[in-house]
């Protein structure tokens, strides 16, 4: 816990805090006063995400008749703001003929899953299940 006062995140409704934590990687930890971890999480997730785009990965959205695409879409959208920015500027369409396509997907999905784990960690800190 931070030494001085109550972190801003503690006074926010839990769902709002979790939403912010999902939207910007590391923001939940910043709001809870965990700045070092916030920076590390932000850098790791952004680097993984950018590597995924650079490697011709696909930001997967649900495809009718393909149940696995729904799971992959959860991981993709798990990237929060990064997902919407990339989709907004036309990145992350995926180049299936590229040799790096599967690597790109792996990096993009990993980044999203890591961000979702960061959201769960934010929840544990905000609810007192984790005291550091």
């Amino acid at each position: 816990m931070p030494e001085q006062g109550k972190p801003v995140g503690m006074s926010l409704p839990l769902l709002v805090l979790l939403g912010l934590a999902w939207f910007v990687p590391g923001l939940g930890h910043v709001l809870l006063g965990r700045r070092l971890r916030a920076v590390v999480f932000f850098v790791v997730i952004v680097v993984a995400f950018l590597a995924g785009l650079r490697l011709d990965g696909e930001l997967i959205v649900p495809h009718a008749g393909d149940p696995l695409s729904y799971l992959a879409a959860i991981a993709s959208v798990g990237n929060g703001l990064l997902f919407f920015i990339a989709r907004g500027v036309g990145l992350g369409q995926g180049v299936v003929t590229s040799a790096a396509y599967e690597f790109g997907n792996t990096f993009l999905l990993t980044a999203g899953m890591m961000n979702l784990l960061v959201v769960l960690d934010t929840h544990d800190i905000a609810t007192g299940k984790k005291d550091w």
Partner: protein, 58 residues
Amino acid sequence: MLDHLSLMVLHALLIAVFFSFLWKRDRQERWRYFLKVFGALVVGAIVLGWVMYPFPRG
């Protein structure tokens, strides 16, 4: 572009850093955990590659 081994090492590096900060509190614990996860991912993938070597796809 990076080769497959470099990409695998980069991925292992990111994963190991992430989980060492997510799950470990102290600096020393983090270092130990980082080395353990990073080593397991990189060495494990290379070993698995060699184990599969005698079994061609065709």
